[in-house]
């Protein structure tokens, strides 16, 4: 049995997306910047992809910039807002403690350049409020950047409300919507989003393609310099095959959000209920306000990497916020921000589902995780100390 439940890391491309790409590799392969008919055919395809993506997000084609993916979009969004702010003497940025590193590390770089960064704390359910944002706003705030849904614990933030607060204050609002696009309903107008980042490979599109939406009037700051592609704001020959695959994958995902969510939420809730039966385990993140396919648990007394390796032996591909899986010294900053102590955060497991998963797979996963957790606990000196009463359980 082979079960892929690491869809927050990346997804399998849909057949339709693969097929949408193929003609642009060997038939319509011209450079859209070329004047000849081969180039113009590619330019037309690019134009249509831009329109189709804009339609899904609720914006205009001119507000869409193609990038290499989420990290590039996040970086360019933040650099843009920072430069605009700096020109007006505004050098304060508000974000959250559990953003993706593409956001956090860009903010750290700006901090070294004299920007002041406020990172809002999340509550015990992995959520922030618009009120928190409002209270953190200052005269010199140039940007609020809050992720739409968290990549590890899947919690969905009140983006529309935060957008309204920012709009009322006249502060730019960016959201890293990499985990949300294709899975949740998004409309940049209704949700008062000024700038948005998305990545194709999180919704069954290809890797290496992304979008930066920036509301009309926001002058993007280049991160990549060179030719005049993307209205001069992002140099480099466009990755037409990937962009065509992205447009197709996005249209399909967006058209099926309701049906997919219903199926995913059913499987997700069964998985959460099943894993909750494991003693001294805890769900990370709010039970309801989370991505339809996201499940994230901590199991006390074990370490996440060994859990992943043994699950892999049972055919299950999952992920963990343990430090050992990444080579970092500290466990996941998201779980630490949630208030989990280091030793608990090391024992985390993320299962991110797609509609291709089945009810049978969910039952198999529940049984497998129970077995592996029990086995690892049986050889854990930490678990022995907890059971013998020498140490107190953190997770009751």
């Amino acid at each position: 049995m082979k079960i892929y439940v690491d869809n927050a890391a990346t997804t399998k491309m849909s057949r339709a997306a693969v097929e949408a790409m193929l003609p642009y590799m060997s038939e319509i392969y011209g450079n859209p910047s070329s004047l000849h008919s081969d180039g113009q055919a590619a330019a037309e395809a690019l134009y249509s992809a831009r329109e189709r993506i804009a339609a899904v997000l609720g914006c205009t084609a001119k507000e869409i910039t193609f990038t290499s993916g989420g990290s590039e979009s996040d970086t360019q969004a933040i650099i843009t807002a920072a430069k605009l702010g700096e020109s007006k003497g505004k050098k304060h940025i508000i974000s959250t403690a559990f953003e993706h590193h593409a956001v956090l590390h860009t903010l750290e770089a700006l901090e070294k350049q004299g920007f002041e960064i406020t990172l809002l704390d999340i509550d015990e359910y992995g959520l922030i409020t618009a009120e928190q944002v409002k209270n953190a706003l200052r005269e010199d705030t140039c940007l609020v950047t809050v992720m739409f849904a968290n990549n590890e614990i899947g919690t969905i933030q009140p983006i529309g409300e935060i957008g309204a607060v920012c709009r009322a204050a006249g502060v730019l609002f960016h959201t890293d919507a990499v985990q949300a696009v294709g899975h949740l309903n998004i409309n940049v107008i209704e949700q008062n989003i000024d700038i948005l980042s998305l990545s194709a490979h999180k919704f069954h599109g290809p890797k290496g393609a992304g979008v930066l939406y920036a509301r009309k009037g926001i002058a993007l700051q280049n991160v990549i310099f060179g030719g005049a592609q993307e209205r001069g704001k992002r140099a480099g020959t466009e990755n037409i095959p990937a962009i065509m695959g992205m447009a197709k994958a996005l249209e399909d995902s967006a058209a099926n959000i309701s049906a997919n969510s219903e199926k995913l939420i059913k499987m997700r809730n069964r998985l959460i209920n099943g894993l909750s039966e494991i003693p001294h385990s805890i769900l990370n993140g709010d039970r309801e306000k989370r991505l339809p396919g996201n499940v994230n648990f901590c199991f006390e007394g074990i370490e996440g990497e060994s859990l992943l390796l043994l699950l892999d032996d049972k055919g299950i591909a999952a992920s963990s916020g343990s430090a050992c899986t990444s080579g970092a010294l500290d466990p996941s900053h998201v779980l630490l921000a949630l208030g989990r102590p280091h030793e608990i955060a090391h024992g985390s497991l993320r299962l991110s589902l797609s509609v291709e998963n089945t009810d049978e797979e969910i039952e198999y996963i529940i049984t497998a995780v129970k077995e592996v957790v029990e086995y690892l606990r049986s050889m854990s000196p930490v678990w022995r100390d907890l059971v013998s009463g020498k140490k107190e359980f953190v997770i009751k």
Binding site: E303, C324, L329, P381, V382
Partner: protein, 145 residues
């Protein structure tokens, strides 16, 4: 290339000498749960020979594999020989560890030394303190201690 060698995966999947020795003659525990790994070694000593050894480990794949390999390497050996076991020898016996996992083999060496020192101290046996670097601060650890 896979993260771990076949040997690491073998010792991880089928760890040797897992468990506890009741009334052990020496027990050593090193590491810190905050850092993601703790190793505990139990020794049964007869006539200065390691008659039996068991381990319990909380940690990643290479921590479990290092514990398993290290216990195999000292089982049935005189204490004097067990004391010469180095982390390098453990890592080599596992056909190597990724650089950021080398500390797991260090923990294995330290856990064994800590258990032997415990045996010496319990029995009032004189020993060369220089052979036992202080394991309380294993140096590999994460920010907070």
């Amino acid at each position: 290339m896979a993260l771990y060698s076949e040997k690491v995966m073998d010792h991880f999947r089928n760890p040797r000498n897992v468990g506890v020795i009741e009334n052990a003659d020496g027990i050593g525990e090193v590491g810190n749960a905050k850092c993601g790994d703790i190793m505990k070694i139990y020794l049964k000593i007869e006539n200065d020979i390691i008659a039996d050894v068991k381990f319990e480990t909380f940690g990643c794949g290479s921590a479990i594999a290092s514990s398993s390999m290290a216990t195999e390497m000292i089982k049935g050996k005189p204490l004097s020989e067990a004391l010469t076991l180095t982390n390098k020898a453990v890592a080599e016996a596992l056909d190597g560890l990724p650089t950021h996992k080398l500390h797991c083999s260090v923990l294995a060496e330290e856990a064994i030394k800590s258990a032997i020192r415990d045996y010496y101290e319990r029995n009032g046996i004189e020993y060369d303190h220089k052979l036992f670097p202080d394991c309380g601060s294993c140096g590999h650890c994460c920010g907070e201690q």
